[in-house]
Amino acid sequence: MNQSISYWQTFSNVLKRDLQVAIRNKGDIFNPLVFFVIVITLFPLGIGSESAILTRIAPGVIWVAALLSALLSLERLFKNDYNDGSLEQMLLSPQPLFIMVFAKVLAHWLLTGVPIIIIAPLLAVLLHMEESAYGALLATLVLGTPVLSLIGAIGVALTVGIKKGGVLLSLLVLPLYIPVLIFATGAIEAAALNMPYAGHLAIIAALLAGSMTLTPFAIGAALRVSTN
């Protein structure tokens, strides 16, 4: 009856609002990014500046830091909306929930994933990463960070009603990040040895395709359960 507002319109409204809110709340964007940079700069300080060791650990360090900074930023995905009641209003909208949820996760990725992708090559220089591995690093981050946001959002949706859900959230979500971590670092290491890494990328791409299509429904269902 009331299809005057299309799905696309709903999607762009939610996306626009989330970006607007984040831009007026700048700490939300910068804190995870600064965290990412600091964690990575700590490694050369702690381990020493010997380039052979740093080259060896660079892929793992960058990816683990990316996982942790994603985890750090996840809470704000639904927490604020839950606290001020706008989540309730979203659940009561006649528009399908998975569209709104997908827009929110996309906004989260644009605000936390994209800055990491942009700054990662710079930090790779700091860790003496092999030149041949830069392409693989960027490719794995582009394909992998959206998976982190999508899978993490299920965990946030499940814990949003709990007062101190932060620790529980990391226990829920970090094990699910393991496949992304394994294949991403595998791809970068293969690239550093000038070996083909398309297979690793294909698996991360498959993870992305799977989580893009399935997680919005899971997140929606989890939100309905946790606001019950």
């Binding site: 009856m1 009331n2 409204n13 604020n80 399908p96």
Partner: protein
């Protein structure tokens, strides 16, 4: 008699091992204004959340025009406006942006947003961030939706909280207009409404100790 717009069918709600209400049934018809009464902790908010489909009852079901609401969710939500304890207003957005978003989310027109804000006495505050406004003004941003809404069923949890006397009178006037147009209003309030008793239906919940 016409078909009930919204009906509660044998609703039971249990919170923390306490039965809030048991086998509660009632029908709400177009043109009804229902006030849900009861002491604190009697389950008024729980009942409203169940009616809105936000919480699930322990037993029983809520029906919209004869169908269980989980079956006809989209259709039901097109005709439902629920404003809970939390206003659903984002502090980082201005009054106008908040109202626009809330209207679009529910498929209502955003054409007369300024008039709607004028109705709730927020003229001049359109571009002020909601976090800079008072609690009552935040509440008014949420309530401004009522003037633009096409929904037939309004479920309002304590709509008068933090609203001044003149504001309450305006709202009551709007409720009367809404039920005259065949809508229904279901609300909780500890205040006595200045609406004639013949127009007001009451549902009283008791506080049970078991």
């Amino acid at each position: 008699m016409s078909q009930a717009l919204l009906s509660a069918d044998q609703l039971t709600c249990i919170r923390e091992d306490r039965i809030l209400f048991d086998q509660l049934s009632f029908d709400i018809y177009p043109g009804d204004l229902v006030q849900i009464e009861g002491p604190n902790g009697a389950g008024k908010t729980s009942l409203l959340r169940i009616l809105a489909g936000l919480s699930r009852p322990y037993d029983g079901q809520v029906k919209y025009a004869g169908n269980t609401i989980t079956r006809v969710r989209e259709d039901y939500y097109e005709n439902l406006l629920y404003i809970g304890h939390l206003a659903g207003v984002k502090g980082e957005l201005s009054a106008e942006e908040n109202l626009n978003f809330n209207l679009q989310l529910h498929g209502d027109s955003c054409e007369n947003v300024e008039q709607a804000l004028a109705q709730v006495n927020l003229t001049g505050f359109e571009d002020a961030l909601a976090s800079h406004l008072s609690a009552g003004q935040n509440r008014r941003i949420a309530l401004a939706r009522l003037w633009q809404s096409k929904a037939k069923i309004w479920i309002l949890d304590e709509p008068f909280t933090a609203i001044d006397k003149a504001g309450i009178a305006t709202l009551e006037h709007l409720f009367i207009k809404h039920i005259d147009n065949g809508g229904t209003v279901i609300l909780t309030s500890h205040q006595d409404l200045q609406i004639g008793a013949q127009r007001l239906k009451r549902i009283t919940l008791d506080y049970n100790f078991y």
